[in-house]
Assembly symmetry: C2
């Protein structure tokens, strides 16, 4: 089935304390975003990418795309004010009867194996949301206190959140709601169950300087 | 108030794929456990440490203790079959009217500032359980499916779990139960509320080779 990756790179980098948004920070001389693009372009020969960036980053993003293995398979879209809006903008550029991967631009350590695992499950079940278990104990805040929860039941959600276009596209034909914190919540709101798939411990999101150090080591 | 740290170093290292248990793996020429010991010994001049290890690691543990700044403030105890048993063995060696820190031996990046924050809150409220928020979205498995939970309400639990001895010691005078996954759950089972305190993103537990890389970078 045809494959599209909608890669959302809208961060402002404020949490890094850096002037450069984190998707453009360099890891071994390449921007974080370059690794993310490469992973998806390499995973499947017929993968097409829609890269969604804020208007002010279009030029920088073009530079990153041009350095990838297949710039001709990447199109740019200008994002909106929220993650939901940005994904919706990206979805306007994809075709029907496909599998769609929605990926954080700053999740640059996703493996090709995970991309393919998500694809296969999405074809079979309609969706694939990669998750890993917490290795720490987990508590839920309740009122003034907190309760412990069985950590084997707590799943930390990663990307690519992957769906059949026949499920994802209609789900996004709604108004934005506050509970839409990721793509899975949008799809659920339209009445579809979402299916989890085993993610990867190393598939981290770059949000702090520590994450940059980790990513640098993992890429070495 | 008098301070005791019960440092539990009972892991077998199987998750690291290494023959050496993770608490003895070297970070910049020092064992992981050495850093943990140093943090607690340095945090307060009157801190005493009870280091709980399996019988087969007593000799190795002695070597680590001797390399610290204050071996005379560290005593060894032989651990039990479960975390609960090991902590209980350690608690047999501490005095009344004190604050007790229970620490994972492989959590070697805990800062002195966090130790002091836990101390101050435990004196004031009776307990201090360091937690951080998840930066990933979180889902809870329910039956065949899963539900999303507000990630601001999900707290990942760290150590040192810190208590007044007047709360912790009586709480451990019970039989082991399966729901005793950490010290907080034991204290709660005896009818005490536990109080959370802000932990540290860098206060990671060394369980995978990736964690070793991170720790090495953070110590550089």
């Amino acid at each position: 089935m045809k494959k599209y990756a909608v890669i959302v790179a809208g961060g402002s980098g404020s949490r890094m304390g850096a002037a450069v948004p984190k998707q453009f920070l360099l890891l071994k001389d390449k921007p974080v975003l370059w690794y993310t693009l490469e992973t998806f372009l390499a995973a499947y020969e017929d993968m097409e990418v829609v890269l969604v960036v804020p208007a002010e980053h279009v030029e920088a993003a073009k530079g990153v795309v041009d350095a990838t293995r297949a710039p001709e398979r990447v199109r740019l879209a200008v994002g909106g004010n929220t993650r939901f809006d940005s994904v919706r903008k990206g979805l306007e550029m994809i075709g029907e009867e496909s599998v769609v991967f929605v990926q954080d631009g700053v999740r640059c350590l996703t493996s090709g194996a995970l991309v393919r695992r998500c694809y296969e499950q999405a074809v079979r079940l309609g969706s694939a949301i990669p998750v890993v278990s917490s290795k720490d104990s987990v508590r839920l805040v309740k009122g003034d206190g907190s309760i412990v929860v069985d950590r084997s039941l707590v799943k930390l959600v990663q990307t690519p959140q992957t769906f059949l276009s026949s499920i994802l596209l209609p789900s996004y034909r709604v108004e934005y709601r506050e509970e839409f914190t990721d793509e899975a919540t949008v799809v659920e709101a339209s009445g579809h169950a979402v299916h989890l798939v085993e993610g990867e411990v190393n598939n981290i999101k770059i949000t702090t300087p520590l994450d940059m150090l980790v990513a640098e080591r993992l890429l070495s």
